[in-house]
Amino acid sequence: MDDQSPELDSSQEPESAEPQDARERGPYQPHEPGYGLDQPRYNPYEDEIPDPQTRMLAIKNAKAYLLKTSTKSGLNLYDHFANILTKILDEQPTNTVDIIENISKDVKWAQFRKKMDTLRDEPLIPPTFEAAENCKALFIQEGGEEEHEGVEEEMGQPALPNVMEAAFYFEQAGIGLNKDESYYIFLALKNLIRVQPIQTCRFWGKILGLEMNYIIAEVQLREGEEEEETGEEGEGTTAEGEKETGEAGEEDEEKAAEPPKSTYKPPPPIPKEPNGTGTNKYVYFVCNGPGKPWVKLPPVTPAQIVCARKIKKFFTGWLDAPVVSFPPFPGNEANYLRAQIARISAGTHVSPTGFYQFADEEEEEEERGADTYEENPEFEPPPVAKMVESLATWAHHVKGILKQGRCVWINPAQKSEENEEDDEEEEEEEGEEQQEERGPPLLTLISEDEGMKDIPAWTTHASTNLIPEYSVAILQSNRWPGAYAFASGGKFENIYFGWGHKYSPESYTPELPPPAEAEFPSGPEIAETVDPTVEEEMAFKIAQEEALAEAEEEEDEEGEDD
């Protein structure tokens, strides 16, 4: 509290500016204005700090208050304000007054960053850098020179597809990955070709998954490279044979004690098509991303395709993940992926009509349908406008999959030994139980594809209406959303980007569980009856004994007679 009488600062200055009066100013006289104002509590400026000393004291008090450390956080307001002002003056943001609270919060957050420790943390290696390493590996050319020449000598056609060219055409339609990713895939395919014995290769597409995606390459291996599969099949049959002999041995020993064996024999599994034909015409390699290793997918069996038609599941991105579904899928995600790839290829791989033609050799049976085709050297591409207008200018070049799950029908009842060469001749011999299935022959026009309800199976459009002379004809499938094809001049290409599922206008309904099995037909031999009571049993026993006694007496009588 000040005891001194308050005075105004500014009132002093004018006085000093005025010419010096000879007369000293004494106390105010009652008749002068200003009388009595030097008494305490009469001056209007009483609350102002009067003179420098007390003001300094007040300032020190205020500063001490500001410097009071908070018991909770160890900060004090003084330092905090100093930091805020420093930050503001350094950064000079616009409209500072509007964001002042945020700035204050940021300064407080910054306090809690780790200061210099004597122990240094290991710098966290974010996965970013690992992926960059992987991608960098793609760019390194290893032993490039010699292999390069070797490749050119052996084959006339380069095995590596021009991914960037196809990407350019698809980009005109708004389809495709961004250029960087396409280029990484290009390099990854080049690596694949270098490692595996590949004859032709194509970028098939990309299937999205929940945790990771799949990049798929469609490949034809060179002759003689696919003998691994037969080994596995042989082992499977021998294992079954051993089981059968084991069971027969048991039966001889304990016939009476065993419960009745069921006479149910599961239908024999339909054999998968041999590599190089039908659904297994191409071999597929997948990887989770460019830079990651390529994995070969196993060939597909008809049972897997049949089951894949009944289920609809997302891919997770892990090839060994189980597919939990009903009906239970025979295989894991790698098999499911392969089955979907087979279905998509069969449904949506098209080419301009006339690009491929049947091989010139005569076919023995027309019903079989050609399985091979070759490029037509005299193909003249129709103009783009025509390709957009009419669907008859496009044709499938992959055989459709029958209900059985194969491209070529096989009669399962006939299959006694595993000769796959006899299949073609046995079409109509005996198996009356199952109708032979015929699919549309190879190279059917896509105008024959039926749509669903009122949606046509395919949608065509030109990539641009503004510049028709350079536009590209684009085909989109409505049955498999994500399948695209383009044609321009003599070039064409198919690709798939999507989740890997077929479009159905109705919602997916899972297969119902099979009906409950029939019980053993009820008849008198298994009809339940009430057990006889003790009295009934005794009565029965007595009756039996009496009957026996009577019979004996009769015999005795007869014996006596004789």
């Binding site: 964001i99 945020n102 940021d106 974010p126 996965p127 970013t128 850098f129 690992e130 992926a131 960059a132 992987n134 991608c135 980009e171 005109q172 339609a173 708004g174 389809i175 495709g176 990955l177 961004n178 960087d180 990713e181 597409g205 990309k206 999205l208 998954g209 929940l210 945790e211 990771m212 995606n213 609809k312 599941k313 997302f314 309800k453 009122d454 949606i455 046509p456 949608t459 459009h461 990539s463 641009t464 209406n465 503004l466 989109q476 409505n478 959303p481 994500g482 980007f497 999507g498 989740w499 599922h501 206008p505 919602s507 997916y508 899972p510």
Partner: protein
Amino acid sequence: MEALSLPAALEPVAGGGAGLSPERRAALGTSLPLLQRDYRFERVWFWGCIQGVRGAYYIAEGLGPDRAAPRSRLYSLNCVDWSLLTPATKEMLALAEQVKGRFQGDPSFEYSLAEINKTRKALPLKLAYFSSKPVMKEEARLIATIEQIDRDVGIVPRGAFVKTPLGSVHENRHFEGLSLVEAKKLSSYFHFTDPVNLKNKTLLEKADLDPSTDFLDSLEHDIPRGSWSIQLEKGGTVVVLRSLLWLGLTFYHVPMTKQFGYVYFGTGEKNLDLPFML
């Protein structure tokens, strides 16, 4: 996604295979700023593209000063001429749920609901009025679908928008992006619509929330669980969220930067088979 950053923003989204052709991109680059000028929007977002059987609709949204206010939506068939769409009404939403199948690509196409009404035994009373008019125009279905998609799966990262005490929502100029760890969690992303679950949180949870940034529903409690697929592409430089409920909606965010956005490239149909597919 922001119209101004369209070319850069389309790159991370292209992982799904769908994108825009150079012609459309160029057209958008010229027509979206003009939209902003004509309609006096503060921000213009390119919402995406709905593929119809015979054509595609390109959709843009315009935002005013309050980013959470109902947005104006415009559609175009060629990315050059845009038409304003009316706001969605509850009847439209209810009717659109009954219509199934692809969009046709022609805005004046009419879906006849008479067949659908026959199979449904009891119509709620408030729709009785519409049973006399058993058609739905494709434009109305488009409006309803866009509204549904925005409501269900339109997402933004946490902290990107702040709510002022007056109730209006602005971009947070202090948003520096999510960190890599946060970006992998579903709780760091919010639905950019009126919150539904927020008031159901317990008091204890609410105490931890910051009312300026946590005023929206997070993705954690979406039903069904697992209806979002989070992936780190390019080794963690971009985090991409794809919705499995509306296949085709892709959200991208580059962690530790301010870039984020979502776009829809798809057929405009809800994936009702989702529970079977997970």
